[in-house]
Amino acid sequence: MSSWTADPEWLNWVELQPDVTAAIFSKLGEIEEWWTHIEIRWGRTTDPEWLNWVELQRDLTAAIFSKLSDIEVLTSVQHVCLAWLKICNDLFMWRTIDMHNLAVVFDMDLDYFKICRGAVDHSNDHLSRINIEYFFNDELLHYIGDQCRP
């Protein structure tokens, strides 16, 4: 929104921030008029300049990120740009944390306890499922329990 000017050329609804547009769409509810629905939704053109991954609809980007492991999101994906950081911080990403068998997937010398604590902190006590098979200890379980107390 910071780049907003009064220049009419900027008055482009398609360029509206994805979450603002999503909020508008959510108000539409179950619209009977499919035509309206189709006109309104995301008027992308084939202009290659529009092939912009940052402007991809928020729920699509979130669907992609949800297929990645938490550690990938934490260590690289969220640093790509502000829009991706915001999506990564979105609570839903951290409702389920799956960290089982990390050592097999990542051939790095990582502190899994620290990563796990970071992920739990990220969830802002919305965590509902966690898999820490192979590396849990009492301290970690206490930490998770304390953080997720209702």
């Binding site: 995301w42 992308r44 084939t46 912009n52 297929k67 994906v77 740009c81």
Partner: protein
């Protein structure tokens, strides 16, 4: 009533094929496709239009180019019940969609992702999001920026702070 499934639905001219209605879809760039209703209703959006009796004339698919729409129709044909004899064959066929080797694949998947979202085709959407997720895996932040042509909009301070904030992930 079901007709024998064929993988080819390109027969134009007829308005019906047996008892199956044909729908006319028009892409953003004006290409017209005739598709069996039973196939096209894999799209939840189109199914809604059919159920609401809004699919009687040409259906404009305004955000999707003819090239992409042709790929979507190919997807529908393969996913019609009975079109492919076994799951393994289908998975093998799908693999052409779910791997991104270069930027041209990347652009195709982007278009398919938009089309799958717009037309609401859960199977295609799932395949495309997996493809992008696979492309992200194993890439560093800079590699991702390069691959997806994304410019960092963090200033230097923020970038430093972010790296520091997540330093814990790399500490021994």
């Amino acid at each position: 009533m079901s007709t024998a499934a064929t993988a080819d639905a390109s027969s134009s001219g007829d308005t019906t094929e047996g008892s199956v209605r044909l729908l006319t879809l028009q892409s953003e760039d004006g290409e017209v496709f005739e598709v069996k209703e039973t196939i096209a209703t894999q799209s939840v959006t189109i199914k809604g239009m059919v159920d609401d009796d809004c699919a009687t004339s040409t259906i404009p698919v305004c955000n999707v180019t003819g090239r992409t729409l042709a790929m979507v129709i190919e997807w529908w044909n393969k996913h019609e019940i009975g079109a492919v004899s076994n799951e393994k064959e289908l998975k093998e066929w799908e693999s052409q969609f779910d791997t991104i080797d270069d930027k041209s694949d990347r652009d195709d998947v982007y278009d398919l992702l938009m089309a799958a979202n717009y037309l609401n085709i859960p199977t295609l959407l799932d395949c495309c999001t997996s493809a992008v997720a696979e492309a992200i895996k194993g890439k560093s932040t800079d590699e991702m920026r390069e691959f997806f042509d994304i410019k960092s909009d963090f200033d230097e301070k923020e970038e430093d702070a972010l790296r520091k904030e997540n330093q814990w992930a790399f500490e021994n």
